[in-house]
Symmetry: C2
Subunit: 339 residues, 2 copies
């Protein structure tokens, strides 16, 4: 198994990314191709893994360009043909890698994946899923930003693809919920009202509407929404988790007694922070592309990069795209879809 | 100043509501009409405020019906003409109260307000605003659920009305942000793309797009979105705040040292919980109705009810609706609106 890692993306620099790759090759029987400036990457790799054994599992593939976090995705992908993220997906296209992982510009990663690999047959809109922490098992939410204006058949396909991803993660019969503003049937905007009957007729394990507050309860495995709503959900959650940590610190700094308390409870605090920190949760899978790709949070730690590489490997090993194609076919027998 | 309080709504029962009313009349020079079953309310009031002085500022107005939390708002309001929330808004309509407050069924409160008071002239869609805690000053987000399918002119009017509410709360020139999925102009779904130029042309202090993570930063005073997105934002935030408290408790219970730490830091924890607890933040104003109304969270404590009553009084005193009418007129000179 060979995973291509865009070694130029991410907010924490090459070291964090390469360390993630080293952790992954050490833990699992796979190899990683680091894609980026070869001089730079060789230098970092030599200092991080001076022993020959690990280094043998790491290959460096040169690329001369980088897409910045604020560049326009489609333009950048069109202009920078030798960008690290483009080369990473090209490796997948050429059969020289099984999957690609990037912590760079999310839009550009999606655009590069579609440009190099194309859509999976029958999928109208590939999208991005994300894993949210909950009080129980994590939940998969899709789409989180690739498709801002959706029709009901797109939401049905998100449900199908996210269910397949949930199965990869060990959920046998993923419970699918439709994100809206009330539990009763018929609650929501016009898109939701059109999507509900499609999900109901499908062969998915549709449990009905879920509300924003259900996201963190852990009573549903897959939550479906359009990319506009999903992205706001994700960013609001990230923003609140960060703000809450700052507010808590604020309150603790107000008294000596609380500071003492913090000292005794600091491990619990760290564990809590990790639990609500999105950057810790591996990556967001691109679903509906003709291959396997994962977008990581720009802030990803080496642990998160490692988790993303292992997740990508699992998606390849368990052949998620075959599962998606079969589910699409099963669904097409019941629900008539337009592309 | 006379505020009508629906004394039958809310999850915590009559005592919490009546205590809130008593706190309000003690703190501010106003009177409250408790609307609901008079026998029940007299009994509670006698036990909570046995002295004549406070009781003189509290009036009881009988109503024979109650709308449940799960009833269909429009149906319920049509059928239950003597429901407490209907009678409360009728008092405003008759000039016997200056504003109405309810912690009952939100949809029914909105429906009762519109039925009894009507829309403010020139407002196409009344909506509900909500106050979100941030790292700095609270931010007003509108709409949070009254209007799920919106057009751009509705969002412009939400911005105008929420700015007026922000001024009531002491912000002189409220900074208005448009909630979307990227900071750059042009990022978002089609509704956002149509709304952006309207806000830009308006006389509002429009600062451009804001993302989900900006909600809690406190760098914007008013955030505009449709009611579907706003409701999901609110519920996701409430859900995460609750889940985070449970996760933190979980981590603390795992070790004796952390439990000791919690003991020393418990005041800070309580202050933190209060800061992220939405039920503490008074209520959500109904904006665009021909009168003043506030919807409280079902879980509202007596403190939150008191805050809502004081907020309603402030809205009346500062004549929020005149401010809205003037801003609408100013905006109509610049931007052509359809109703």
């Amino acid at each position: 198994m060979q995973i291509a890692l865009d070694a130029m993306g991410g907010d924490h620099g090459h070291e964090e990314l390469i360390t993630g790759a080293l952790l992954a090759v050490k833990q699992a029987g796979l190899s990683v191709s680091l894609v980026g400036d070869e001089v730079l990457l060789h230098k970092h790799l030599d200092s991080l893994a001076p022993d020959g054994k690990t280094a043998k599992l790491i290959k460096i593939v040169h690329s001369s360009q980088v897409i910045g976090m604020n560049e326009h995705p489609v333009d950048a992908v069109r202009k920078k043909k030798d960008a690290s993220v483009m080369v990473a997906f090209d490796l997948v296209h050429q059969g020289e890698a099984d999957a690609a992982v990037s912590a760079g510009n999310s839009g550009a990663t999606m655009a590069a994946a579609i440009r190099k690999l194309g859509r999976l047959s029958g999928v109208s809109r590939p999208g991005i899923a994300s894993i949210f922490p909950t009080l129980k098992k994590p939940v998969v939410l899709m789409d989180i930003g690739a498709n801002v204006d959706c029709r009901c058949q797109h939401l049905l396909q998100f449900a199908i693809m996210a269910s397949a991803f949930s199965r990869i993660n060990g959920v046998i019969k993923p419970r699918v919920g439709l994100l809206t503003i009330g539990e009763e049937t018929g609650k929501g905007n016009s898109l939701i009202k059109e999507t509900y009957p499609l999900l109901e007729k499908s062969s998915l394990n549709f449990i009905g509407n879920v509300e924003g507050r259900d996201v963190f309860q852990g009573n549903v495995d897959v939550i479906v929404c359009d990319g506009f709503v999903g992205n706001i959900c994700l960013k609001v959650s990230e923003g609140l988790a960060e703000a809450a940590m700052l507010m808590l610190r604020d309150e603790i700094l107000k008294s000596i007694s609380a500071k003492i308390g913090y000292f005794f409870a600091r491990k619990a605090f760290r564990a809590f922070r990790k639990r609500v920190d999105y950057a810790e949760y591996g990556g967001a899978p691109l679903l509906g592309i003709n291959g396997v790709g994962i977008i990581c949070h720009g802030k990803s730690s080496s642990q998160a990069i490692k988790n993303a590489i292992l997740e990508a490997a699992e998606m390849v090993k368990r052949n998620i795209n075959r599962d998606i194609l079969e589910s699409l076919a099963a669904s097409n027998n019941v629900v008539q879809l337009e592309n």
